[in-house]
């Protein structure tokens, strides 16, 4: 029996425990929550199902514990997103839990702000201090000046924060980026669909990707990697062909059968040129047309070749292949070009068909959100205006680090009279806090996570504590609940007992909705949920007939706002999410710091990729220290001569350049975020690069002849 079938089979009938023992862990038990001491058997493995919270894909995990220590995270084989697999970052989860740099107890600032001097205090004192502060502000009639900055993902803590603000009388809820999960939300926007769509890559036979790094980042890396495996080699199916458009060869591009290094920002033109060929050659009968015939003509590959830098013949061939393919599929990675890309799907009519795009009539609302207060303000973007003098008298921060992601706000943040951070780590923002109330790690917390964009399922994964808190930390939701009790007259109490209760109530909603767990009572449902860790429910797909796509707003494309002189800034900078460290959240995990970047093999630092030819022109050799400057800022990092990047483009990963984030992340590499404006991930910026004197630390795990030869040529 094949592994996949086996997993499918078990996921229908068996419980997690039998499945785990079928996987070669004989004496395993999959058990809920905490076992009383008298029943605990030392030396026995206890497995707990939970969710990976390192990125927003929401993969299911099972965690092995023995002697009350968590010692292994594995993919939950029952989970429809990752089906037992787990990406490198998910594997590093225990280094979040057992990170030596975690904040181990509540702290209050003793020295100057930013001096890093803190004293340990008790939870009682911490909550009391915060409550006093909030009461004091309320007494001054300035409740609205208390702001809460919170991460993008729905969570029990975010829910508690919303309740707290509304009970207290403030609507100052902020997010750091305002973008949420970029790719997901831009898809939802372009399709005007209820939620992120699902792309059936596994069953496609021809895949046209416009910068979507679906094997590394994008919507759900493990889910789409599994799909890619089947796309390549599944029994009874021809090997799929994969074309990828991106100015730099990402790991995803490296796996394509053909890589098209189009000029940055021209993806949309490439997509439109393909449309034009399909229409003019009549490759698809009655294909819906996006623009008027006349305006479509202006996208002819012959006319756009100059702008895209892709020869017309190539576009024509790909258009023909795409149109002729059994199950063609187009996917994209940036908000601007999404409509043109999605139109290709409309042309080939693959909506809600195997190998196509699946849209949902409505999303299954995260039941945690049904528990929201009636008056939840939409989170606003934390920017200069929001922080104007006196606007914010106290800032509470949870799961956000604006001093790192938006350094230009630092002075404004510093000027806020009172800052409380719920971070587990002494990051750049927390460093400035007056009061620190450290959160539990995700392996010590209760929560419910929704997995974005599955084919026809809503997937909810339980986050449950797999071990007791390692340090004197508390889940932020619980702290906020306690705080609301402490506020007295200043606010009504949050209507929950605890984070666990929030999740139980949300679970009860799931139980009502039916789905994959049949149980007679909420309690029984809860038991099964805790054991399995995942609940799935059917989602209706939208009928394709009434799906029209808005005309592409090509003319209003997001352009660089700062006027730049192209000869002064001859390159385009692509800053991208580090495949291990993301935007920098994972930079404090030593395992991920030591993972060689799959393309450059660099570890423990930042780098700048530049085409060897361009580098030679500038006298830059592999490993040289270079300075990259954009109109927004400049950074220094070693150069990597990267043969698979356009000569007019340089690229740099996010992730490093922390000034304060524990011993593994601090003072390492450069922060590419300072080169661009806070905003969309696909934003491109003009840049210049020059060799400067000074030593550069470029640590690689491996190399190859090519790089060596380059070095010698110099």
């Amino acid at each position: 029996m094949k592994r996949r079938e086996f997993i499918k089979l078990t996921s229908v009938g068996a419980t997690g425990a039998t499945l785990l023992s079928a996987c070669g862990h004989p004496e395993n038990k999959l058990i809920p929550v905490f076992i009383p001491d008298n029943e605990y058997v030392p030396g026995l493995d206890y497995w707990k199902a939970s969710v990976c919270a390192i990125c927003s894909a929401g993969c299911g995990i099972v965690v092995r514990t023995r002697e009350r220590k968590a010692n292994k995270i594995e993919g939950n084989p029952l989970h429809p997103v990752n089906r037992g697999a787990l990406c490198a970052r998910g594997q590093a989860g225990l280094q979040v839990l057992y990170n030596p740099d975690r904040i181990r107890s509540p702290l209050k600032r003793t020295g100057e702000r930013g001096s890093g001097q803190f004293a340990e205090i008790s939870w009682d004192e911490a909550i009391r201090t915060l409550a006093e502060k909030l009461r004091e502000i309320k007494a001054q009639g300035r409740a609205a000046s208390v702001a809460f900055l919170i991460g993008n993902r729905a969570s029990a803590s975010r829910l508690a924060a919303e309740h707290l603000l509304s009970a207290y009388g403030s609507d100052a809820l902020y997010t750091a980026s305002g973008s949420g999960d970029l790719a997901a939300s831009s898809y939802a926007m372009s399709y005007q669909s209820a939620g992120p769509p699902f792309f059936d890559i596994a069953n496609a036979t021809y895949l046209l990707s416009f910068g979507a790094r679906f094997l590394e980042t994008w919507l759900s890396p493990v889910m789409y990697s599994l799909a890619y495996g089947e796309f390549r080699r599944a029994s009874g199916k021809a090997r799929g062909k994969f074309i990828h458009v991106e100015p730099r060869m990402s790991l995803t591009a490296a796996n394509a059968d053909e890589w098209l290094p189009a000029r940055p920002g021209s993806e949309e033109l490439v997509a439109m040129a393909i449309s034009q060929v399909i229409v003019r050659e009549g490759l698809i009968k009655d294909a819906p047309v996006l623009a008027s015939a006349a305006s479509l003509d202006s996208y002819a590959p012959e006319k756009t070749a100059e702008q895209t830098d892709i020869p017309a013949e190539k576009i024509i061939r790909i258009a023909r292949e795409f149109a002729a393919a059994e199950r063609p599929l187009a996917i994209g990675g940036g908000a601007e070009s999404m409509q043109a890309i999605n139109h290709l799907n409309t042309m080939v009519g693959n909506l809600n068909k195997p190998g196509g795009v699946f849209l949902h009539e409505k999303t299954f609302l995260n039941p945690v959100e049904t528990l929201r207060p009636d008056t939840t303000p939409a989170p606003k973007m934390l920017n200069e205006a929001a922080l104007e003098n006196g606007h914010v008298s106290a800032l509470l921060i949870h799961e956000a680090n604006p001093v790192y992601t938006a350094a230009r706000l630092t002075d404004k943040i510093k000027a806020i009279p009172f800052i409380a951070s719920f971070s587990s780590f002494m990051d750049e923002t927390t460093q400035l806090a007056d009061l620190i109330l450290p959160d539990n790690s995700y392996l010590e917390s209760w929560d419910l996570r929704v997995a974005p964009g599955l084919k026809d399922e809503a997937v909810f994964t339980l986050m449950q504590p797999v071990v007791k808190p390692e340090f004197d930390t508390r889940q932020t939701a619980d702290v906020l609940i306690a705080l609301s009790r402490e506020l007295g007259d200043a606010a009504r109490p949050i209507p929950f007992e605890s984070s666990e209760q929030i999740v139980r109530r949300a679970a009860a909603e799931l139980h009502k909705a039916g789905g994959s767990i049949n149980a007679a009572s909420d309690e029984e449902f809860w038991k099964a949920f805790v054991e399995r860790g995942v609940w799935t429910g059917r989602l209706a797909t939208e009928s394709s007939a009434d799906k029209t796509i808005a005309a592409p707003a090509i003319e209003q494309r997001n352009q660089e706002t700062v006027n730049v002189n192209e000869s002064e800034y001859p390159f385009t900078l692509l800053a991208y999410e580090h495949s291990m460290l993301g935007l920098g959240e994972q930079a404090n995990l030593p395992l991920l710091q030591e993972m060689p970047d799959p393309m450059t093999s660099v570890m423990w630092g930042s780098w700048v990729e530049i085409n060897p030819k361009a580098a030679a022109g500038l006298g830059i050799a592999d490993g040289d220290l270079v300075e990259v400057a954009t109109p927004h800022g400049s950074v220094r990092a070693p150069a990597v001569l990267y043969p698979a990047i356009r000569p007019d483009v340089i690229a740099m990963p996010f992730g490093q350049g922390h000034t304060s984030y524990g011993r593994y992340a601090s003072a390492r590499g450069a922060n590419a975020l300072s080169l661009i404006n806070l905003g969309m991930a696909l934003e491109t910026v003009r840049a210049k690069i020059a060799k400067i004197s000074g030593g550069a630390k470029l640590i690689r795990f491996g190399t190859d002849e090519w790089e060596r030869m380059e070095k010698k040529q110099r």
Partner: protein
């Protein structure tokens, strides 16, 4: 001999057409097998340890350039060049076709590493260091290596033992799925398959007969037990 035939013969198949180079296998192996973080300085000196690594090779020149990924772990060579050179039998062949490494027998000559054509042997130049409490995440089934000994992929021997024990408990022969090494388990594209190649019905045996099957540096006659499936037929 007949006893040997009854023993499972472990082998792995890696489909290079599926593999994306994502390195989930690399991380999985490190956490499963208690590979300590070497740190920046030691990494810079070529001492970080990855029992499995993903090698990336570029071919061609811009814009017609391609990248090729190849996960490389100990090939568990049937004719393992690392074995005869070890003066103290710290590395030897088991009757299940594993190239085993006995840490406490090893005196650290590093000769085996020199004679491994695949460069998959890693040496503990210093003892492994775990910044407390990171050590709590150690896998209790796997010993932490001391300073001065050689180490490398074991095909997750602890999982093999557990799987074999379970099959024995259930009074049956080993079958597919009983043993899943950490890297195989985590592989995000299902590019890796592990099993008993002596069992004709196993998935590895089936895949090993594929027209795409090849072995790394086959010409050296090491007879690797890791079989790669080429990208194209």
């Amino acid at each position: 001999m007949s006893e040997q035939q009854n023993k499972p013969q472990w082998a792995m198949v890696i489909d290079l057409d599926r593999c994306t180079g994502c390195e989930a296998c690399v991380a999985a192996c490190r956490v499963e097998n208690n590979i300590a973080v070497a740190g920046e300085d030691q990494s810079a000196r070529g001492r970080s340890i990855n029992w499995i690594r993903v090698e990336r090779y570029f071919e061609g020149e811009y814009p017609n350039i391609r990248a090729r990924f190849m996960p490389v772990l100990c090939q568990h060579c049937e004719e393992a060049p690392c074995e005869p050179v070890c003066p103290v039998y710290a590395t030897y062949h088991t009757d299940e076709g594993l190239n085993a490494q006995i840490y406490n027998r090893c005196v650290g000559t590093r000769y085996c590493a020199n004679n491994c054509p695949y460069t998959v042997r890693f040496f503990n130049f210093f003892g492994s260091k775990w910044d407390a409490p990171l050590d709590k995440a150690q896998n209790p089934e796997v010993s932490v290596r001391t300073r001065g000994v050689m180490e490398k992929c074991t095909f997750c021997i602890q999982r093999i033992r557990a799987g074999e024990e379970k099959a024995k408990d259930e009074g049956r022969a080993i079958r597919d799925g009983d043993v899943v090494p950490a890297c195989v388990q985590s592989c995000t594209t299902r590019a890796m398959t592990f099993g008993n190649i002596a069992d004709e019905t196993s998935e590895v045996a089936r895949l090993a007969k594929s027209g795409r099957a090849m072995r790394l540096l086959e010409e050296l006659g090491t007879k690797p037990r890791v079989i790669y499936l080429n990208k194209s037929d």
